[in-house]
Amino acid sequence: MKSALIVFLKEVRENLRDRRTLINTLLTGPLLGPLVFVLLINTLVTRELNKADAPLKLPVIGAEHAPNLIEALKQQRIEILPGPADAERAVREQDADVVLRIPPQYAENWDKGQPAQVEMILDESQRDSSAAVRRVQATLEAYGQRTGALRLLARGLSPSVMKPVVVAERDQSTPQSRSGTLFSMLPYFFILGTFLGGMALAIDTTAGERERQSLEPLLANPVSRGQVLIGKLAATTAFAMTTTLLSILAFSVAGHFLPTDRIGMELDIGAGFAARVLFVMLPLAVLLASLQTMVAAFAKSYREAQTYLSLLMFVPVIPTMMLSILPFKPQMWMYAVPLMGQQVAITRLLRGEMVAPQALLLCFACTALAALVVYFVTAHIYRNERLAISA
């Protein structure tokens, strides 16, 4: 084990002297995620808030047929614009979020007490316009209900006749769980940080060493290749974990720059959170380091290794994508799958929910097991005699 320690210390010392690696570990790796995140969330939140506050502009065709309806809309701070010639086209081309069309028969039907139809032209696939659509819809429905109630009263009936069932919503989300849905991308940034932090060393200690032609002299020393590999993996893991720790710190600082309170949310990145995240990330760092070293061992040069590892970087995206596309309920087995387990655990911890210690342990143990398997495969490759030969 002493030889592994010597290799570890040398790799750490050598790489601490490399500015590129340092920038990767201490700056790009941990800061890239929080920066992108703060920008993204800020833009998103600010836009949503602006939309809710600002008066909505609504093009209306045939406004003259329904002066009362128009008046009701105006009272809800909806600004009425003259309608476009071709409403469908205006919506399709996103010139308008939603267009209201009032047919000439409206007044006639209204006077007869028959349902008077209005048309809303909208595009369901435009996420951007959904807030506007919802608002117009709600205003129209409220106007309809109010009128209905008045008509019932005029006929001597109570408006409650029309409401045999009343639904009262009791939202069970807490401020933290609401931020959780918004922050479901966050675990990916931690995992990405871990990946980026170890990448430079994984390449430098294998493909880089071979390209510099220093691997052959190294292996001529009376040290088993297993020891050399353990030392190198330990150095890669140490850098990866440093990046992870800095990521957590950066996110806890970044949390203060997010307008979370304005949307009634709360992000709790404290010491307890950090400790739990580091616990589940440690075996993952070893796993990723082994994977990166294995992939880099196949490469003939530094550049080739970089190309392979950039492709490998997409692997951690897969569980993130799956979990954000498919709505899920955390199941115990998910903790047993490396990457997915971390994703689920960090997401829940962010939402301020309790994650059972067994779940964290399961996540740790299963990822550690996977890391061990990958380590043995890497060690096997490392024993291949062609590994050391540069040319």
């Binding site: 050598e14 790489n15 002297r17 060493e209 052959e216 002299p217 001529a220 020393n221 009376p222 030969i389």
Partner: protein, 248 residues
């Protein structure tokens, strides 16, 4: 003492199978310089790689001071000082740190490493570069550092693969002096070369390899007598049967 017995090493399989080393046997004695001479691609580097246990021979045996390399590779490596064909340094470490790293891997303590490094720095005349980072070292400075780190554990046996490759005239002369010094210290020195004059000037014994086989294993004088050529270079050409690949 280094002994090779009927060493054989092949690469690839089937149609593309290449026999790199085909039954090589020779003995390199203590207190002697043994030269492994042969044209490019004759199998010198592969033979040496099997010797310092980087590669495993298909068959045959390697004995270093009587220890079998196949059964105890670690103690064989402990008794060998190796300057491989690849002699890359860690460019972000200084010359001394490069040497110390290998000393530590050999299990030496800090004091021993310091004394031996100081001695090597004097012997190889590298006072000016000892505390510099090795990035930007000249070829000669790199080889000196690589030799110093290969010999940090004071090995009885020294293997050098084309040690003068890429060195200028002065550095080559210094290298020869150094090899003779190692011999006078009673070590077993084995080096490979494709350069005639170098081998002639240095060796007590010449092992000529061509196409993976040993074609001669004699003292320089005996080699001249055996081939009937007064000139060693002519003797060499006669032995390997061609002057192809013979660069001087």
């Amino acid at each position: 003492m280094i002994e090779l017995k009927n060493l054989r090493k092949t690469f690839g399989s089937g149609e593309k199978k290449v026999v790199a080393v085909d039954g090589v046997s020779f003995l390199a004695r203590d207190g002697e310089i043994t030269g492994l001479l042969g044209p490019n691609g004759a199998g010198k580097t592969t033979t040496l790689r099997c010797l310092y246990t980087l590669m495993q021979p298909e068959s045959g045996q390697v004995l270093v001071d009587g220890v079998d390399a196949a059964s105890d590779p670690l103690s064989v490596r402990r008794n060998l000082g190796v300057l491989p064909d690849a002699r890359g340094l860690y460019k972000r470490l200084t010359c001394r740190e490069n040497i110390a790293y290998f000393g530590q891997l050999h299990g030496l303590d800090a004091a021993t490493i310091r004394t031996r490094t100081d001695a090597a720095v004097r012997a190889l005349e590298m006072e000016d570069i000892a505390d510099r980072r090795t990035e930007g070292f000249s070829q000669g400075q790199r080889v000196k550092t690589a030799i110093a780190r290969a010999l940090i554990h004071d090995p009885k046996n020294v293997i050098l693969d084309e040690p003068t490759n890429g060195l200028d005239v002065m550095a080559t002369r210094a290298m020869r002096v150094f090899l003779k010094q190692l011999k006078n210290e009673g070590r077993c020195v084995l080096f490979s070369s494709h350069i005639m004059q170098e081998v002639a000037a240095l060796c007590d014994r010449i092992v000529v390899i061509a196409k993976g086989r040993v074609v001669a294993d004699e003292s320089p004088d005996a080699l001249r007598a055996q081939t009937g050529e007064a000139n060693l270079e002519d003797a060499f050409v006669k032995l390997i049967g061609t002057d192809e690949g013979l660069a001087a």
